[in-house]
């Protein structure tokens, strides 16, 4: 089991308990999760993610066997292209980008270029729909959610594109999935961190309609309880209890 949606570092709008790499390793042990793909939470809110990437690599180095770095690249800044090779050389398993926080619209050409380049480098691009529920956000947190249109545009950007979209709910997943061709649909994996379980059974419905292999395990630790996606899987109807999910490593 891989948690594709873990982060370390503080959050600017509220205090979160001990968002540190060594704590994350203990959480993985407790939850019986093998590995985590880990991003640097503050970098989403920094103008330049370079310092955050360096901090992330340093923080994860003692736990290299369990915590895999996911570095952030900002494609609207000049000379981002070499950073992709640097990231790969540094052991990154994927790249993160935050279009709403960087005010990049749904059809921003630099995001499309980054998605294509990540595909060519065989690195999935991890996108975040939201960090918090819209209803509780700090007055200064005005970025808004990542839109379905933005995800569709990136999924259509090229054959090699591979997106892992985190923190999406049922409606967005359906809007994107059924707005793509069957080939484009295969370019997108969804983490289950924000999908509802029973009694509405959104996760079960998505497994039945879209297919369980389009979904991967994700927690959004340290912002959300790690117990949530496991609880959601445990509460699936019996006939879906052994449904195979997607493998981010093979993606």
């Amino acid at each position: 089991m891989i948690d594709v949606n873990a982060l370390v570092g503080p959050y600017p709008f509220r205090s979160i308990p001990h968002p540190d790499a060594d704590v994350l390793v203990r959480v993985l042990d407790r939850e019986e999760v093998d590995l985590a793909w880990v991003g640097h939470l503050p970098s989403a809110f920094h103008r330049d993610p370079a310092a955050g990437n360096a901090e992330l690599l340093a923080a994860l180095k003692p736990h290299a066997a369990r915590l895999k770095p996911v570095l952030a690249i900002r494609p609207d800044w000049p000379r981002w292209e070499p950073l992709l090779k640097d990231a790969r050389d540094a052991g990154a398993v994927a790249i993160r980008a935050y279009p709403p926080q960087w005010q990049l619209g749904p059809h921003d050409s630099s995001m499309a270029e980054l998605a294509i380049a990540c595909g060519e480098a065989r690195l999935p691009l991890v996108l975040t729909v939201r960090f918090e529920d819209l209803r509780q956000r700090h007055p200064l947190d005005v970025a808004g959610d990542l839109s379905a249109a933005a995800i569709r545009a990136l999924a259509r950007a090229g054959k090699g594109v591979r997106l892992i979209v985190t923190a999406a709910g049922r409606e967005m997943i359906e809007e994107v999935h059924w707005g793509l061709t069957p080939e484009e649909q295969q370019r997108v994996l969804w983490d289950i961190s924000w999908i509802w379980g029973p009694p509405e059974d959104h996760l079960a419905k998505l497994f039945r309609t879209i297919g369980s292999r389009r979904f991967v395990y994700g927690t959004q630790w340290p912002l959300r309880l790690t117990q949530n996606p496991r609880a959601n899987l445990d509460l699936l109807p019996d006939d879906l209890g052994s449904a195979a999910m997607g493998d981010p490593d093979e993606f």
């Binding site: 529920d133 509405e200 340290p222 912002l223 109807p237």
Partner: protein
């Protein structure tokens, strides 16, 4: 026998909710409840859930239809369900009649939506009746009201605290600290209101939320619940065991003993 578990915030649907899958949703609640170990679903039906009148502003006719469906469910399911009677306080005479009618038929509490601000005097007759019958009042809450939102007249912890101070003999259940808004505000707002018991339900599973609730209010003021996301309810149940802030005895309080204390004796199935 396993430790009891009371879901203090549950809802069911019925045939007039405008959803062809209403029976599936109800069945899913029981299926998940069995897996989680829910002993009793303390539940309400919210009019026609928006089909004929708005969810949070149900018409008197829809309130009655929903309560009738809930009474039928109560009769069919026995002790694994307990009923909160839903009312709209804008229709005061109807609201008080519904409470009397449904209490006679077995309702154990009152459910208030977001039809009127919590501190409005129109809620006083409802609360007086709740005091007379010993009924806890579950009030829908938006954690920290900073502006108006469409389709509901939202109240927050501070609004409910003013109502609770006017009715010290009534127990108020503050709905879903994870149900939207800033729960951190709520803990400050209700700390000095001993007759307000927040429930932990809601889709929000922020890390730190449970810890802050326990630190601010203590385990004897918190109630476990699920509302419309039972996965988050199970996650919180599991997370409570890892906070390092609760003894095994404290966990029993949140799981069921606080609920057993605030509802009339013998009204919650499976609980002594």
């Amino acid at each position: 026998m396993n430790e009891p578990l009371i879901d203090c915030h549950a809802h069911f649907l019925h045939a007039l909710c405008g959803r062809s899958d209403w029976q599936d949703v109800n069945a899913a609640r029981f299926r998940a409840g069995d897996k989680i170990g829910v002993t009793c679903h303390v539940a309400s039906i919210l009019g026609t859930h928006g089909f004929r009148s708005p969810v949070y502003f149900p018409s008197p006719d829809d309130v009655t239809v929903g309560n009738d469906a809930m009474l039928a469910l109560l009769k069919r399911e026995g002790t694994r369900v307990a009923m909160m009677v839903t009312v709209n306080p804008n229709h005061t005479a109807h609201a008080t009649r519904e409470i009397e009618r449904c209490v006679k038929a077995g309702a154990v509490g009152v459910k208030l939506l977001a039809s009127r601000r919590a501190d409005d005097p129109l809620l006083d007759p409802v609360c007086a009746l709740a005091a007379k019958h010993g009924l806890p009042v579950l009030h829908h809450i938006w954690q920290h009201r900073r502006r108006e939102w469409p389709n509901q007249e939202i109240s927050d912890g501070a609004d409910l605290a003013r109502l609770a101070s006017r009715h010290p003999k009534v127990i108020f259940i503050l709905a879903h600290i994870g149900g939207g808004g800033d729960y951190a505000h709520t803990f400050h707002a209700v700390k000095g209101s001993p007759n307000i018991y927040p429930d932990l339900s809601g889709s929000g599973v922020d890390r730190g939320m449970l810890d802050d609730a326990i630190k601010a209010l203590g385990p004897k003021r918190l109630l476990w619940g699920s509302d419309i996301t039972m996965c988050t309810g199970l996650a919180k149940l599991r997370a409570l065991e890892t906070t390092g802030l609760l003894s095994a005895d404290d966990l029993k309080d949140i799981r069921w003993r606080n609920a057993a204390r605030i509802f009339r004796a013998g009204t919650l199935g499976g609980v002594a």
